[in-house]
Amino acid sequence: MNDHSNAIDVRGLTKRFGKKTAVNGIDIAVPEGQVWGFLGPNGSGKTTTIRMLCGLLHADAGEGTCLGYNFRTQVEQIKRQTGYMTQKFSFWEDLSIRENLDFVARVYGLPDRRRLVDETLEKLGLEQRQSQLAGELSGGWKQRLALAACTLHSPKLLLLDEPTAGVDPKARRDFWDEIHTLSGEHGITVLVSTHYMDEAERCDRIVYISVGNIVARGTVPDIIAHSGLITFTVEGEDARQLAPKLRGHPGVVFIAFFGAMLHVSGYDRALLEQALAPYRNDPNLTIRETAPSLEDVFIQLQENNGGART
C-alpha cells in the first residue's frame, strides 16, 4: 500500500466512448481530508472521471490509487470505503426512507443495523416520516437522504456528482455545512462536482476540466491570479445597453452581466481602457477596475477552451 497522504492519486486517466475522448489523460491528487471542487461545463468529463474513480467505468488508460488501492484492480476494496452520490437521485423511490437505509446497511454488512438506521433517521430529522416512500420526498430531502445513505458505512472518500443541482439555497447551505463537518470532524476526503461559484469557493482546491482536459487547478485566489484577466465593472442605469457596443472591440475578450452591472474583461489593460474611453464621461455610468470574480475566470476558461455544451 502507498502512504495515505493522498486519498485520490491517479495519473493519465483516460476514457474514450467510441471515437470521442471523454477524459483525456488527466492527473488528480487529492490529499486526505480535503474538499476539492470539480468544475467544468456540461459534458466536460466530470461525471465520467468520478465514475472511473469508483469503478463504475473501466478506464482506457491511467494508473494510480484510491485510498491506497489500485483503482483498476482493487475496485471492491475501494467500493467498501467510498461513498458515491449520483447526479440524479438514485435510491429506490418505491422503498420507504427506512427501507432504503436498511438496504444499504445490509449490503455493506454493517453491524447493529437497526440502531444505526434509527440514529441516522434521528440525525436527519426523518423519524416521523421514516415509512414514507423516498419518491414522495422533495428535492432537498432526497438529497439529504442520499447523502445520509451514501455515508452510512462511514466511507473515507466521498465522491459527489453535482449533489446540489435543483436544490434551494437554504438546503444547499445546510448540505455544505454537513460536507465540512464530515471532512473536518471525520477526516473524510471529498471530491464534489458543481456549477455553483459559491460552492466552488467553499472548496480547499478547485480542478477545472474542459473537453476532458484539466485547464486550471489550485485555490480560488490562485486560479484568479493565474488567469491573467483584467476586469472593469460598469455600473449605472444604462450599463446594459453598453454590452453590444463593446462586444467585438479589440481587447474586450468577453462581457458578462452581474445583475445591473457589467463585467468587461480582457488581457490588455490599455486596449480595455481604449474601448471604455468614450463612456468615461457619461454621468450615468461608473467605470472602475476590479479583481475578476471566479465566475469571470470560469467564463473565460469555458470560452477559451470551447467547452462542449450538451
Binding site: G55, H58, K79, T86, F89, W92, D94, R106, V107, G109
Partner: protein, 378 residues
C-alpha cells in the same frame, strides 16, 4: 477479503425485491390476472370443436328411419335442430340467412331405398364460410347415421344394417375421444402463460433499475453480479410456482382436465422450464436499455413460442424449418411434458427426451446471461 459471495447481501437484495414487488400492485394484479383471463378465454370462449351448431332438417320421407336420424343428430350435441321442414327451399333459405349452419336433407323414397338395400343418399349441406367450425361435426355424421339406423334395422332387415355403411371411417381419438379442446388447450396454457409472464417480469429486472438510475447506485455498492441475479430471479420463481398452481387448480376443478400422471414430476419439470425462461428474461434484461425494449424482446421470444411450439398449430403439420426452431424453444418440450404427464400418465422415462433439451437450453442461455452482465456502466 470479504468480497466473496455473501448470503446476507443476497438476502438484502431479496428483501428489497419483495418489498418492491409488493408495492407494484399493477404488476402483481397482472401476474394473477393474465393466467385467469387466458384460462377463461381459452377454456370457455375459444372452443376449437364447436358444438350445438344450428341445423335444419328437411324431411321428404317421414318415417321411423328419419326420426332415428334426427334423434341421433340431436343426441350427438354437435347439432341443435332448429327446424324440421319438408321443403328443401326453406332449408336453403335458412342456410343463406345464416340461421342454420347445417341442412340435413332426407330425400323422397329414403325408407324404401334403404329397405331395398339401394343405399339412399343423405345430403348434408354445411355453411363452409368458417371451414374449421363444422369440420368435426361433418366428420361425425356418417358414424352417427349408421349407428342410429342399426337399431332400426332388425329382424328381416338386419341384413341391411351393415351394408348400409359398407365403408366405415374409423376415427379413433386417443386420450381425448370426445375431442374436447380444453384438454389440449389448458395444459398448453400453462406453458404459454409462464413464457409470457416469466420472461416479461425478468426482462425488466435490471432494465428498470437502469432506467430509474438506481442501477448505478447498486453497482457502486459492494454487490456481486450473482448476488444481484439471485436476488432478482428468486421472487419470480415464486410467482411462476404460484401461477402454475393456480392454472392447474382451475384446470382440475373448473375444466375437469384429467390428471393421470405424477404432479410432483410435473412440478420438477416445471421448475426446469421456469428456470430456462428466467435465464431468457435475465439475458434480455442485461441487453435492454429501457423497459420498452425489454417488452419488445419479450414479444420477439413470445411469438415463436406460441406459433411454433404446437400450441396453436399441430407441430407435425409445420414445415421442417419451423419444426427445427420449435425444437429449440423450451415451451415445445414443456407442452409435450405437460400433456404427457397429465393426459397420458407419462413417467420420468417417457418425459426425459423432452426434459434434457430444456436443461441444455437453461445452461446455454444462463451462461450468456452471466457473461453479459457487466459490472460497470460501460
Amino acid at each position: 477479503m470479504n468480497d466473496r459471495f455473501s448470503l446476507s447481501r443476497v438476502f438484502a437484495m431479496l428483501g428489497k425485491e419483495f418489498i418492491q414487488m409488493r408495492r407494484d400492485r399493477l404488476t402483481l394484479a397482472m401476474l394473477v390476472g393474465i393466467p385467469l383471463m387466458q384460462l377463461i378465454l381459452f377454456g370457455y370462449a375459444i372452443n376449437m370443436v364447436p358444438r350445438h351448431l344450428a341445423t335444419v332438417v328437411s324431411i321428404s320421407d317421414p318415417g321411423p328411419f328419419s326420426d332415428s336420424i334426427v334423434a341421433a343428430l340431436k343426441n350427438s350435441s354437435f347439432f341443435d335442430i332448429v327446424k324440421a321442414t319438408n321443403s328443401p327451399a326453406v332449408a336453403h333459405r335458412m342456410l343463406d340467412e345464416g340461421t342454420a349452419s347445417f341442412a340435413v336433407t332426407i330425400p323422397p323414397n329414403f325408407s324404401r331405398d334403404l329397405v331395398r338395400g339401394a343405399k339412399p343418399d343423405l345430403l348434408v349441406e354445411a355453411d363452409a364460410t368458417d371451414p374449421a367450425a363444422g369440420a368435426y361435426a361433418i366428420g361425425a355424421i356418417p358414424t352417427l347415421v349408421s349407428s342410429a339406423l342399426r337399431n332400426d334395422l332388425k329382424g328381416p332387415l338386419a341384413a341391411r344394417a351393415y351394408p348400409a355403411a359398407p365403408v366405415n371411417v374409423v376415427v379413433h381419438q386417443l386420450y381425448n375421444p370426445e375431442n374436447i379442446t380444453r384438454y389440449n388447450i389448458v395444459p398448453g396454457l400453462l406453458g404459454m402463460i409462464l413464457t409470457m409472464t416469466m420472461v416479461m417480469v425478468t426482462s425488466i429486472a435490471l432494465t428498470r433499475e437502469r432506467e430509474r438510475g438506481t442501477y448505478e447506485n447498486l453497482l457502486a455498492m459492494p454487490m456481486r453480479p450473482t448476488e444481484i441475479m439471485i436476488g432478482k430471479i428468486t421472487p419470480n420463481i415464486f410467482i411462476g410456482a404460484f401461477q402454475s398452481a393456480l392454472i392447474l387448480t382451475v384446470a382440475r376443478f373448473v375444466f375437469h382436465v384429467p390428471m393421470i400422471g405424477s404432479l410432483s414430476l410435473l412440478a420438477a419439470a416445471g421448475m426446469i422450464y421456469i428456470a430456462a425462461l428466467l435465464a431468457v428474461g435475465y439475458t434480455f434484461s442485461t441487453v435492454a436499455q429501457n423497459q420498452m425494449q425489454a417488452m419488445q424482446m419479450t414479444f420477439f421470444f413470445f411469438l415463436p413460442s406460441i406459433m411454433l411450439s404446437g400450441f396453436i398449430f399441430p407441430f407435425r403439420g409445420m414445415p421442417e424449418w419451423a419444426q427445427w426452431i420449435g425444437e429449440v424453444l423450451p415451451i415445445t418440450h414443456f407442452l409435450r411434458v405437460v400433456r404427457g404427464i397429465l393426459l397420458k400418465g407419462n413417467g420420468f422415462i417417457e418425459i426425459w427426451p423432452d426434459t434434457w433439451p430444456m436443461i441444455l437450453f437453461l445452461f446455454v442461455v444462463g451462461a450468456i446471461a452471466v457473461l453479459r452482465f457487466r459490472r460497470t456502466l460501460d
